[in-house]
């Protein structure tokens, strides 16, 4: 091989334009020839910079939150495995929160729900307070500040969601809407309870189709002017979900709510795979399930 042929191979390999057979030749070459390996490294450094020649664009600003939301969810998982003591602790708090959510919507009267939820909230607040103290102790004993902070955030989020559910239930002007399944969502049953006063709602769904790998369900509000993503979720093992949804800042009250299938972390547009959709009622609901 002449020096020119050798250089040609290294340059093309770095640029990624070689077919497999010739790539194998280069890989064999750099394994035994440190000078060739060094040359290739220099080409690699250069070629990665070619990216900077692309015209600069900015992604949709909502992408930042989607990335951080997925990362946050992933970190919870990492923390659980990082500290076994945090595993049962987080699970107990989340279980308390889920127990609170579970009483809404399917099969109970409004007053009964409110009374039960008040008790749940009080219990949950006590759990949060006790857990916060426990976390503080753990931090003093050397646990990671980031771990403690994350647990606190989870607890606060659980409590805030629970309080919102109560506020939505208590709002006499709350509107209960039925979301109809599309062909893709055949078999699903869903309702959406919206409170303008709370600026939030709860999506209740069951019988949701199994998600493709690395996918989530994404909830969308359409206020008549624009469609906004308001969150993602994965159903529980019974293919059901109860999800608190907050109104995005600057968005009007939703006129239509839809649920679509999206890549993990969510998408910037509704896309074609809508499984549920329904207009939000304009008149308050009597709210009996």
């Amino acid at each position: 091989m002449t020096p020119e042929e050798r250089d040609e191979l290294l340059a093309a390999y770095a640029l990624g334009t070689l077919p497999g057979s010739e790539s194998a030749t280069v890989e064999e070459l750099v394994r035994h020839d440190s000078a060739a390996a060094s040359e290739l490294a220099r080409y690699h450094d250069v070629i990665d910079l070619v990216a900077l020649n692309a015209p600069l664009r900015r992604a949709d600003p909502s992408l930042r939150n989607r990335v951080l939301d997925v990362a946050r969810a992933g970190r919870e998982e990492r923390i659980v495995w990082f500290r076994r003591w945090s595993r049962w602790q987080v699970a107990s708090v989340v279980a308390a929160a889920v127990a609170g959510f579970a009483i809404i919507g399917w099969g109970m009267g409004v007053q009964h729900q409110l009374a039960a939820q008040s008790k749940q909230n009080a219990a949950l607040a006590a759990v949060v307070e006790a857990s916060a103290k426990h976390i503080q102790q753990l931090t003093q004993n050397g646990a990671s500040a980031a771990v403690s902070e994350d647990l606190k955030t989870q607890l606060q989020t659980a409590l805030a969601d629970q309080e919102l559910v109560t506020a939505i239930n208590a709002d006499q002007q709350s509107k209960m809407s039925v979301l109809e399944p599309t062909a893709a969502g055949h078999g699903a049953v869903a309702r959406y309870l919206w409170s303008g006063e709370a600026g939030a709602g709860v999506l209740l769904a069951r019988g949701l189709p199994d998600l493709p790998l690395d996918s989530v369900y994404q909830i969308w509000f359409d206020d008549g002017k624009k469609t906004s993503s308001v969150g993602t979720f994965t159903p529980d093992e019974r293919s059901a979900v109860q999800k608190v949804v907050r109104l995005p800042s600057g968005a009007g009250a939703p006129k239509r709510v839809s649920v679509s299938v999206a890549p993990a972390g969510g998408s910037s547009s509704v896309g074609r795979l809508v499984v549920l959709s329904g207009a939000v009622q304009s008149a308050p609901s009597d709210y009996q399930p």
Partner: protein
């Protein structure tokens, strides 16, 4: 990066603010599809978040690593969805950002702007035929054979153009302190 390894979300947010415009721009340049480019951008940052050890600082700059991962992922996606039909003269998405708007970090923004200036100048120095093969290979993910077929020139001509272009780019960028010191 230390913050990322420690699992700090604010570190991920800072990295996103600093590099997302570049990552997204490269994805978009390869895919010509805003939604797919956002998906790739998300994957790149989540990969860094989930496996911060996959970036080895001893093997180069974070910027280079990000660009490499982004480009590879975008090209994989491009191949997967078989959208090879776009033509090079297809209209690009409008509204190019100014360099200083590409990052939320003014100091880093200035550094990136300087790197971009140098790289664009180096690319502009290449004869158009050489620049074309580099862009087709880098952003299009085409092999030399595919480039030869596309440009209707002999394979040997493409190989020569690649070699000359890469050598010239390397020399120019190293002289500007952007590459690895030989």
């Amino acid at each position: 990066m230390a913050g990322l390894a420690a699992g700090r979300l604010d570190a991920l947010g800072a990295l996103y603010d600093r590099y997302s415009a570049l990552v997204f721009s490269v994805s978009l340049r390869v895919l010509y599809d805003w939604q797919l480019a956002e998906d790739v951008t998300q994957e790149v940052f989540l990969r860094l978040w989930q496996r911060p050890e996959s970036y080895d600082p001893t093997r180069g700059r974070l910027l280079s690593w990000l660009m490499s991962v982004t480009r590879n992922r975008a090209i994989d996606e491009h191949r997967r969805i078989s959208r090879r039909q776009r033509s090079e003269d297809e209209e690009e998405p409008s509204f190019e950002l100014r360099d200083q708007d590409a990052t939320g970090d003014p100091a880093m923004g200035a550094l990136l702007a300087e790197s971009r200036r140098v790289v664009r100048a180096a690319m502009a120095l290449l004869p158009p035929a050489q620049r074309e093969v580099v862009e087709l290979a880098y952003f299009g993910g085409f092999t030399q054979t595919e480039i030869a077929e596309r440009l209707k020139v002999p394979l040997g001509t493409v190989k020569t153009r690649v070699r000359l272009a890469m050598r010239k780019l390397r020399d120019t960028l190293e002289a500007e302190g952007q590459g690895r010191t030989p």
